[in-house]
Structures are given as C-alpha cells and as structure tokens.
C-alpha cells in the first residue's frame, strides 16, 4: 500500500516508489520564503556558494513578519528583501499582502502533487491542497535555493480520522486543539499526518488549511488532505493550474502505516488551550469564569476570511465587554477585502474591534504591539508558548474565532454555544 506521502515523495524524487525510512533527494516544485528567515539569512550563504536561485519561477517571497516596519533595522530588512528579489529576478513577490501561508495559496501557487518547502515552521499548511510541504531552517533553505533539491527520510503516515459532522460553532481549530490534547506536542514524531473523515471533507478550503497548519504543533513533518471538488474550486478561483491527474492524489482510509487515531466530530465541544502549550486543551466550559484582557483574532491559523466571518457571526449586534480589547489582524489583504465587501469587517468594527495590519502581528511577537506583563489573552492563533506574544508572564489561551468572539463579549472564557443558543 502506497500512502499519499510516499506517492508525493516518490514523484518528487523521480522514483517508482519509496519505502519508509529511505533517504531520497527530491526536486522542489516551490520554495517559499519570508522577510525574517529569507533573504537576509540565505543571501550570505548563496554568495559564499557563488550561486543564484536555481529557478526564479519556483521561488515565492512574501513580506509578513517585519510588517509594518517600525525602526531603521526593520526598514533595512525590507530593503534588503526587495533588493535581493530584484537581483534574483524573482517575479513572485508579495510585499505586505498578508501572511505567506495564506497569500501563497490565494495566488494559486500550491496545487495537488507539488513538493514544496517553506522557510517557516507553519509550512505544512500547503498539505491541505494535496501537496507535500514542510518547513526548513535558513541553511537548508539556502541549499534548496542553490540546487532546487532537498533530502527527505520517507516518513510513516499517521491517520487522523474525524468521523461524523461538527456541530454548529465548532471548527477545524477545535479539532486541532483536541488532537494536540490527545497526542501531545511532538506526538506527530516528524511523520506525515493524513487527515480524513466526513468532518474533514465537510470543511471549507481555508478551514482545511487550519488543520494542516497545526500539524506543526503536533510535530509532524506534513499534514496532508486529499484534494476534492472543494480544493479544485478554490484553486481555479485563485488562478492556479490544476494538474490533469489531480484526482490521483488520494488518501486510502486503510492506507496508514503508522498510528490510526479516530475522533467523533459530532460530540466535539469548542476547545480552549491553557498557557503555555496547545496540548493544554480542554472543553471551553472548563475555563468558565476566567477573565481576559485581550481577545485576538489573528495569524495564518486564525484570521483568514472564514475566521473573520465566524467572529462576525457571534459579534453581530453585540459589543465587546468593558475592559476587553478585541484586536483583529486579517491574515491577508484579499481576505480583508472579501470581508469588507460582504459587511463582515463592518460588523466587527461596530462591535468595537480594533484593526491591525495584515501581517504576522502579535502572534510572532516581532512588532511593537505585544502583550504586557500579566495580561491575559484569548487568541485564535496556533501557539501559546511562554513569552511568544510579549511579556514572559503574559498568559495566552488558544481557541477558535467563535470562542474568542464570544469571550470578548462576555469578558471571560465562554463556550460560544452558550451565547448563541441562549
């Protein structure tokens, strides 16, 4: 039995088939880099090797970490990035358009069957399109840019199957927090995860991206979802070229050679993860009465169009509690425009939301907007490691956009179903 991971790796390596544990060299179809780990880190290595990028068409550069610039150092990083992109004749350059994991698929760059690497740990997001995609460090990325190749040790495949359908106000984010709770951080052991089951097939493309995105929190190398009509529709709309054989990238339910984990979507309640690990998740109800200072809708994990829309569903006709600040940083300009066009942004604004630029924002902790000492934040992002979003003793809880919005309204951690269903 060949798993989807093995098929994707074998094709990229130009081999008939590969076995678990084989070390093979793959041809990279797309390398994605951003302003933080990208040009400023790879430029000196490429210069040492006296090499330009192997194929400018296959490189995508996105500025999202040091956006907006706030001092001379960050201005210099953006200038270096622009100059390098120009010098390398890279056409696929998205400057301040939003977060790489969202902007790159939105522009049709990721399609089923591809083998991609990204210079960021959340790069498994691309797996939602039936592509093999994972994150690498800067030295390794420089090697990819010089050669177009990378080695992979063929992983086992862990099957995560979500049976039945989610109830209203429960999302992909809740599915992932529940999975983190079940297998723990690193429980993915750098193997490939494949997601299947009715609840996964029901998800919109952007929610599937949330599933694959958080494969990073599980410590998996990749998080794969087989493409279907929803994938195909998204890619066509994004102007991507769907390969003729896209339907051959299937997931066989019996096809895992690692663990098989089964969950029931129907009985899943909204989840909240306590500081300082996504694995500290439990039913939202368990955190009742814990007050919050900041409600944050942001990042590649939690501020795509579907996430903004979810928050607006709860915030419509309501307003943020006194003493709570709701901050919203849409994941991309395109998502923001879509939310403006259908009134979603207006609902958020009327409820009292403050808007931040479309970039990694507080989640990466790179900018000037950071959590202060002892602040409690409920966030739709993926990680709540100590000090990541600001002061060492700030406390970050994680939840879905529905739960963040509901909690912003009540001023304490709230299961959104209590608010919406009376």
């Amino acid at each position: 039995m060949t798993t989807l991971a093995q098929k994707l790796i074998a094709e990229a390596a130009g081999l008939e088939n590969v076995a678990v544990g084989d070390v093979v060299v793959c041809h990279v179809s797309l390398a994605m880099i951003h302003d933080s780990g990208g040009p400023r880190r790879v430029k000196p290595i490429l210069e040492k090797l006296n090499r330009k990028v192997w194929d400018a068409e296959r490189v995508v550069v996105v500025t999202d970490h040091y956006v907006p610039v706030f001092d001379d150092e960050t201005r210099a990083i953006q200038k270096l990035t622009r100059d390098w992109v120009y010098d390398q004749e890279i056409k696929n350059f998205y400057e301040e358009q939003g977060i790489c994991h969202v902007v790159v698929p939105e522009n049709g760059h990721i399609v089923p069957g591809m083998f991609c690497v990204g210079g960021d740990s959340h790069s498994p997001t691309g797996g939602a399109f039936g592509a093999y995609m994972f994150g690498v460090g800067a030295t390794e990325m420089a090697g990819v840019l010089a050669t177009g190749e990378i080695w992979v040790k063929v992983p086992k495949t862990i099957m995560i199957e979500w049976r039945n359908s989610l109830s209203p106000l429960v999302t992909a984010k809740d599915m992932m927090l529940k999975t983190c709770r079940s297998i723990g951080l690193g429980g993915g052991r750098y193997q490939a995860i494949q997601y299947a089951g009715q609840a996964v097939y029901n998800l919109s493309m952007q929610e599937r991206m949330t599933m694959s995105n958080m494969a990073a929190e599980l410590g998996a190398q990749a998080g794969l979802i087989a493409p279907d009509e929803i994938t195909a529709g998204y890619i066509k709309n994004a102007g991507g070229r769907l390969p003729e054989v896209w339907q051959s990238y299937r997931i066989e339910t019996q096809g895992a050679d690692g663990e098989v984990l089964r969950f029931d979507a129907a009985s899943l309640a909204p989840q909240i993860a306590a500081p300082h690990s996504p694995a500290n998740a439990d039913d939202a109800e368990a955190f009742r009465n814990i007050p919050l200072d900041i409600a944050y809708i942001g990042a590649c994990t939690g501020a795509k169009y579907v996430d903004l829309k979810a928050a607006a569903t709860v915030l419509s006709g309501r307003s943020v509690a006194k003493g709570v600040t709701l901050k919203v940083a849409p994941a991309s300009l395109l998502d923001q425009k879509q939310a403006e066009a259908d009134g979603t942004m207006q609902i958020l604004e009327e409820a009292g939301a403050q808007f931040l630029p479309t970039s990694c924002g507080i989640c990466a902790g790179y900018g000037t907007d950071r959590l202060l000492e002892d602040q409690v934040c409920l966030s739709s992002t993926a990680r709540n490691f100590r000090g990541r979003m600001g002061a060492t003793n700030s406390k970050v809880y994680l939840a879905s956009p529905y739960t963040v919005a509901a909690s912003a309204i009540t001023g304490e951690m709230t299961d959104p179903r209590h608010l919406m269903e009376g």
């Binding site: 006296n50 740990s121 030295t139 690193g186 190398q221």
Partner: protein, 164 residues
C-alpha cells in the same frame, strides 16, 4: 574521547539556545546553552564530549542555533532515543553528528553521566572506554553520513559546485 553528558529530561530548543540571547553572537549564546537544566554544562564541556538524551531531543522551534551551539562547544555527537524532526535536519545540515540510540537506555546502566566515551562515526558505535565495550547505534544513511563528514550542507555544496 570525551565525557558523556547524560540528560534524563526532554531537551528542547529553548534550553539549548535560550530566547533572550538569540540576538547575541554565537559565542555568547553558547555560554547559556543548557543552563536552565545543567548550569555547569557550558563552562565544563570539552571538545570531544558526547551528549546523550532520551525522547524528542531538540523539540521546539526551527532555530538552527540549537544545534549550532552544541557544535560550537565541541560536542562530538548527539545520541538520543529519538529526535525532533527539524532539530535532526538542522544538526546534519550544520555538520553535527546525530545518532539514534536503538535500544532501551535503562538496559545500559554503564551509560552514566560522566562516563568516558568515544564515538566511532563510520561504524556507528558508542565506545565505553572504562568497560572496553562498544554499543551499537543506528547507522546514519550513507547520504546523510557524507553530508556530516563534509562538515554540513554548505561545505558539502561548496565541494559539489567546485567539482561541477
């Protein structure tokens, strides 16, 4: 030959390369390597020493410095029952030998912290000097062994481009 540094707890990237020193030069960052779990490590470690850990060695962020500081401090090889994926890749790409310990650590009581050891890189063996005993490690696949032998990815590519 060197000393064995054995760690019972999970070693993450943040204790190897602590966040507050990430913007400091490598020499400064290295002085704080593992200080949260073994304060004397950075000042006592010598060239040729070997680090032995349990499961999920190097779990955490993708920061390369976590592997880079160990190499800088002279660690000859890192042996662990399992490695976090990105740390494993980064170590190999930076030329730091990493070996999976294929057996149960509890079955080897002689592998004590402070033991005198050496690593046979090509033969994938950990040698206990005082007991005149070799313990088998999981061999690195040939491709990765060559990469480490060249000193990591950048020297490996320099060699490759010089030939071609």
């Amino acid at each position: 030959m060197g000393r064995l540094w054995k760690f019972e707890e999970t070693i993450d990237t943040d204790v190897l390369a602590p966040g507050p020193y990430m913007n400091s030069p490598l020499s400064e960052l290295a002085r704080h390597c593992l200080e949260a779990v073994r304060p004397e490590f950075a000042t006592s470690v010598k060239v040729g020493d070997v680090l032995l850990a349990g499961e999920n060695m190097g779990v955490g962020s993708s920061r390369e410095q976590a592997a880079e500081v160990l190499k800088y401090l002279g660690i000859q090889a890192v042996v662990a029952t399992s490695f976090a994926g990105i740390f494993y890749r980064n170590a190999i790409n930076l030329g730091l030998p990493v070996f999976v310990f294929p057996s149960c650590l509890a079955d080897f009581p002689q592998l004590k912290d402070g033991a005198q050891v050496s690593v046979d890189f090509d033969g994938a063996k950990l040698r206990l000097i005082d007991f005149d005993r070799d313990i088998n490690l999981e061999p690195l696949p040939n491709f990765l062994r060559d990469l480490v032998a060249d000193g990591g990815l950048v020297p490996h590519l320099e060699k490759r481009f010089a030939v071609s």
